[in-house]
Every structure is written in structure tokens, then in C-alpha cells.
Subunit: 337 residues, 2 copies
DNA sequence: TAAGTTTACTGAACCGGATAAGTCGTGGAG
DNA sequence: CTCCACGACTTATCCGGTTCAGTAAACTTA
């Protein structure tokens, strides 16, 4: 089954290829009657313009790239990426851009993928996640002049647009809430310490705890995986003067922490309160359901996609702060005994 | 920053475009010395062939498509899709194929996406999941002659290759195990009832339960979401002669079921044993950790990708049965009280 | 050493669109 | 009635690869 081209339409309509192109793209140069005739023939034979031919003659590839840089076993249960992808998609498919995905092992590998994608004209721009300090990827993106948006700042990205959410405000709200419940010993299990937003959160956590005179506001670094979350939780809970509340940097570690507490015979929220960052169905699924810092990840992704499309269209954009996370209290937080 | 083309290489090497093309593609027609010279120039200036130009001159798009047809909120926590994607990716990036992703709302929308992708020559093949009875997508794929592999059979797919796992064997193993522990009242919370593999599982579940003379081997249909899983579990557990064990068709519903049992004051595994289908880190994360039917989803995905690439290369392939799931006993199953 | 074969290239056509430049017929202004 | 402008096209070129046909030189082989 041969896929139709504009030449086929031209033949059937008895006009030239050029006329067909003008008609289909809403360009002036054909009469309204001819345009309608061409459109209906295109419709009838199920014509779709060859994206390669289009991309080749100057136009864009109408595709954006996203790399996933997490070990495969965590990718599956981290709702974060899939939420982000859903959000991108909503925006991209509305403008009929495709999303090209690749799983990468390291930031270096990621850079290599960007170079190849851009060199091959496979994509028009990329969405970059997990911003680090002095991120090697930023320099490469600028050098390639590859349109991009960066998620996970704020940080130093030159002219590349950024999207971030007010993590400092969110963690401050969470700590205040726990203190209002009567907690004085609050700990935190963080995500990867070299990510910028982890650092932002840690700084804000330390500040609010210091300003409220909380004893030992400790942050245990972790890596977003359930195993590391369990380990960090165990380390915190075996202590004789253990914390009465723990804030986790993602939902997976929070669920793991909940299981560790239960396995150690501690009651949640009686003995230990738990707060998760990023609210996914996972948080309401466990027992007790977890108090969480909710934000609309899909909306965050959609915003990023819009910014990227604007950047591809050549608009010069500033940085945008997405809506901040807000606390959703559930059964995992209560006054300490 | 202009991206280099073969014309740039040709100019620098003092040869024609054709010679460069032969050299870079390992075709005969250039001397070894010239080939080396061309290769090193290409390396030096960071040349990547324009994928559009390549695709346009007869070659393939070097990309495959995948659509995700689940509501956004379930996509995030269902480890299944991400596991599958990791598996695809391993295989695809090794052969430098790109993966194009789109979230779709319905099978009809999915068909429309396939038509467009194929018409635009954006992809060389697709991976189709969630096979249904008399699946409308199959006819369209055959009509388009779009290379494809189907996951989730076995079913009627004509010449389109299929990959499935021995679900009947797995559920039989799970039921036998529960019966060996002493259970006689076993229930099941299934996934979407119109999916073929759900039907396969239901049939096998009914057969093994009948052959073992189990009382009321009921299957409650659900939809893979946590909410529906909770609801189905509640309906099963409020019954006076409630089951002593429940098998869930995915891990998300199993975790939800566990939470419902705990919230109703039932001990797991004392009052009720739980088995999850598809083992993800989620299963070991909760307390007690869930006994699960484990299978290597990434390997399943990799196998599917290999089959698809073979189909794209024009090889005529038969259907393949991937490794069957095996039971991984954990803390959520025990003899009934 | 002449003829045939092989090697190492070059030049040009082609893929399917976009688009600039050229052509022709028609209608309105002068 | 003539000239010009404009609408409605057509023609040709370009994008950056692949590939086929052609060619000159080197290398066999009798």
C-alpha cells in the first residue's frame, strides 16, 4: 500500500505540486474552489505530509526530545517522570509535535544523545531535568544553540529558560505544620544531594528549623529509591532520641519509610509522623494514607512544554515559577505522643 | 552554529558527496585511505547525518512508536509501562533507533496516531499493547502494512507477530500455592475485563479453582487503578464468608487492597493473604511486603523491541512466548487462621 | 602489449515537500 | 482600446542524503 504524496494529489486534481502545497498550507496563490477540491482529495486518499521531506526543506522536525536519567528500577515506580510526560504530551500533541524519548545512564551519555539528536535534525528542542550545580549540560546546550527548557532550578543557565516551583516555601509550610502539631524533632530524607532543587530544599529546611529553634534538624541524603529510603529511615529510627516526624523528598521513599516504621513496631502517626513530597495516588493508597506536599506535576510538564515550544518559535523567554506545592494533610501526621 | 553536512566533508576532503556517503556507510567504492580520511574529518567536525534527508531518500525513519492508552493518573504509578519502556530502549538505542511516544485517550485515537505517524513516515513500526478481542487496531495495522508487534495476547492478529507470557501457568501456580497453605476461599481482583490477557487469566483461574473444588472462586473485575482496587477489595471483605486470600492483577491494586484490609482491622497475612501480579519495587516497599508473581518486564520489552526490529527488517516472525511469571513468596501470604 | 577487468572515484537523478520566480488570462482604470 | 495589476496558477530550485550510471586510471591476463 503506497503512501500518497502531494504529487498524487496534484495528478488527481489536475494541478501542479506547488499548487497543492499552497492549498494544503493555507498559503495564498490558489482559488478557494481549487483549495477545497485539493483538500477533499487529500482527505479522501488519507494524505499525510512526509515529515522527512518537510523537515528537509527548512521546516522544523516537529519533535522534541526528553532523556530519562534514572536507574531502570526506579523509573518504573517514580510517578514523577510519567506525570511530567503526560503533561508534555497534552501540550505537544495539541500542536502535533512528537515526543522522542531515550533512557540514558549518565549526564555525559545524555549530552551525547543531545548532540546526535540535534545533529540529525531529529528534534527541535529538549526538556532537561535534574539541574545540577555547574551543570555540564548547560554549556553544551548553549554551544549547540539547541532550544531547551530546564526543570529543577533555579540555577545558572544563561539564556536557557527555566521552570521551577517554590520548594523553599513548600518545605517551610510542612515544617510549620508539624511544629504546630507539637513536633520538635523533625528529620528529612532527601533526594540526590547534587541536584539543585535538593540543595534548595535542604537550605530552606535548615533555615526554618533554625528559626524555630528545633533540635537536630537532620537531613539524611538518599537517592529517591525505596531501598535507600528504607535504610535512611532505619538509621533515623534506631536512635534513642529519634525524630517524631520525617519529611521525605519523594513519595516512593515515604512509602518505604512507612513500611520500615511499621516493621519496627512503631505506630504511624502515633510514634512517628510522615510527610511525602509529591503527592501521587501511591500516597492515598497505603495505610495510613500519607500527608503530602501536592503539586500538579502534569501542569508543571505542560508549562515546560509550552515554554519549550515558545523557545523553538524563537521567542525570548524569562524564567517561570510554577505553582508551589501545598500541604495535603492525611492520616500519617498527628501530634506526637 | 551551522550543522555540518556531507557537502562540508566532501569539500574538506576534496572528494564528491557520493564518495563521502560511501565512506561513511561502509559501502565499497572508496579506498581504505580515503575512507579513513573522510571518517576522521566527520569525527572532527562532529558530523551527524540529517535523519530527514536519510529518511527521504528511501531509507527508514529509524524510529518506532509507542502509544500509552491509560488515564494520566494511573500511568504514573503503573510500573508496567516504564518497565516496558526501559526494555525497549535498551534494545532500540543499541541499534540507534529512536522511540516516539504519545499518550492517547482511546483505541480510536490510537489508530489515528498510527495513521498519521505512518503517513508522515515518522516511524518504521509500532509496539501495540493491551490486545483486545477482535481488536480494531489489528485490521488497521494490516491494512496500512505497518510493521508491528503485539503484546498481551495470545489472540487473532494475522501476520502480526505477538509476544505474550504464560499467564495461565502463573495463576495456576499462585492458586496451587495458596491451596497448599490451606486456603479454600480465594478471590481475584482483575484488570480491565476486555483485555485478552485478563480473559486468559480469568479462564485459567476458574479452571484451576474448579479442578481443586474451591468454593466460590470469584473474580471481581476492576481497571488497574488503586481506587477501583480498593473498592473491589472492600466489596470482597465485608462479606461474612469473605475470602482468605486475594490475587490482584497488578501491584497497584494489591497495595490498595492491603491498605483496605489494614484499615478494616484485618491482619495481613493472618486474616487475609495477598498476592500481586507483576512484582515491582512497590511490592517490597510496603509492610508486609507482598508475595508477587514476578516477571522481568524490561526483558519482555526488550524481546518485543527485537521482534519489532526484525519485522521492520522484513523478517517473517512467528509468535514468541516470553518467560513465564514465577511466584516470589513474601510476608503477605500465610496459612489462614 | 592490447584487451578486459577492477578500483576509485565523479556527476546526476531522486526522495517529497516548500518556495521563489515566471507565465498567462482577466478585469479595471485611464 | 490599451496598459497594468492582480489572481491563479506552473516551473524550477532547494534541502541533504542515497544510489546508479559513467569514467579515467591502474591492474590483470593472454
Amino acid at each position: 500500500m503506497k503512501r500518497p504524496t502531494i504529487a498524487d494529489i496534484a495528478r488527481r486534481a489536475g494541478v501542479s505540486k506547488g499548487a497543492v502545497s499552497y492549498a494544503l498550507n493555507g498559503q495564498p496563490g490558489v482559488s478557494e474552489a481549487t483549495r477545497q477540491r485539493i483538500m477533499s482529495i487529500a482527505q479522501e486518499i488519507g494524505f499525510n505530509p512526509n515529515s522527512a521531506a518537510r523537515a528537509l526543506s527548512g521546516a522544523s522536525a516537529r519533535a522534541v526530545g526528553l532523556t530519562l536519567c534514572r536507574p531502570a528500577r526506579i523509573l518504573g515506580i517514580e510517578p514523577w517522570f510519567m506525570g511530567l510526560i503526560s503533561g508534555f504530551e497534552a501540550e505537544l500533541s495539541a500542536r502535533s509535535y512528537a515526543l522522542t524519548l531515550q533512557v540514558v545512564a549518565t549526564p555525559e551519555h545524555e549530552i551525547e544523545v543531545y548532540r546526535r539528536w540535534w545533529g540529525e535534525r531529529r528534534i527541535d528542542g529538549v526538556i532537561v531535568t535534574d539541574l545540577r550545580e555547574d551543570d555540564v549540560r548547560v554549556a553544551v546546550l548553549q554551544q549547540l544553540q539547541l532550544p531547551a527548557v530546564v526543570i529543577g532550578g533555579p540555577g545558572e543557565t544563561g539564556k536557557i529558560a527555566q521552570i521551577w516551583s517554590d520548594d523553599a516555601g513548600a518545605i517551610t509550610e510542612a515544617v510549620r505544620y508539624l511544629v504546630a502539631l507539637g513536633h520538635r524533632r523533625i528529620a528529612r530524607v532527601s533526594g540526590l544531594p547534587d541536584l539543585l532543587h535538593t540543595q534548595t530544599r535542604t537550605r530552606a529546611f535548615n533555615e526554618i528549623c533554625a528559626s524555630l529553634d528545633l533540635i537536630e534538624a537532620v537531613t539524611v541524603p538518599s537517592d529517591y529509591t525505596g531501598e535507600e529510603g528504607s535504610r535512611a529511615t532505619r538509621r533515623l529510627l534506631i536512635d534513642s532520641d529519634r525524630p517524631t516526624a520525617i519529611i521525605y523528598d519523594n513519595d516512593v521513599m515515604a512509602v518505604a519509610g512507612l513500611a520500615v516504621a511499621q516493621e519496627m513496631g512503631l505506630a504511624v502517626p502515633g510514634d512517628i509522623s510522615i510527610v511525602a513530597w509529591d503527592d501521587s495516588p501511591l500516597c492515598s493508597l497505603v495505610h495510613p494514607p500519607l500527608t503530602a506536599l501536592s503539586r500538579d506535576i502534569a501542569a508543571y510538564g505542560a508549562l515546560a512544554a509550552r515554554q519549550l515550544l515558545a523557545a523553538i518559535d524563537g521567542e525570548q523567554l524569562g524564567n517561570v515559577e510554577a505553582g508551589s506545592a501545598h500541604l495535603t494533610p492525611r492520616g500519617s501526621t498527628a501530634p506526637p505522643r
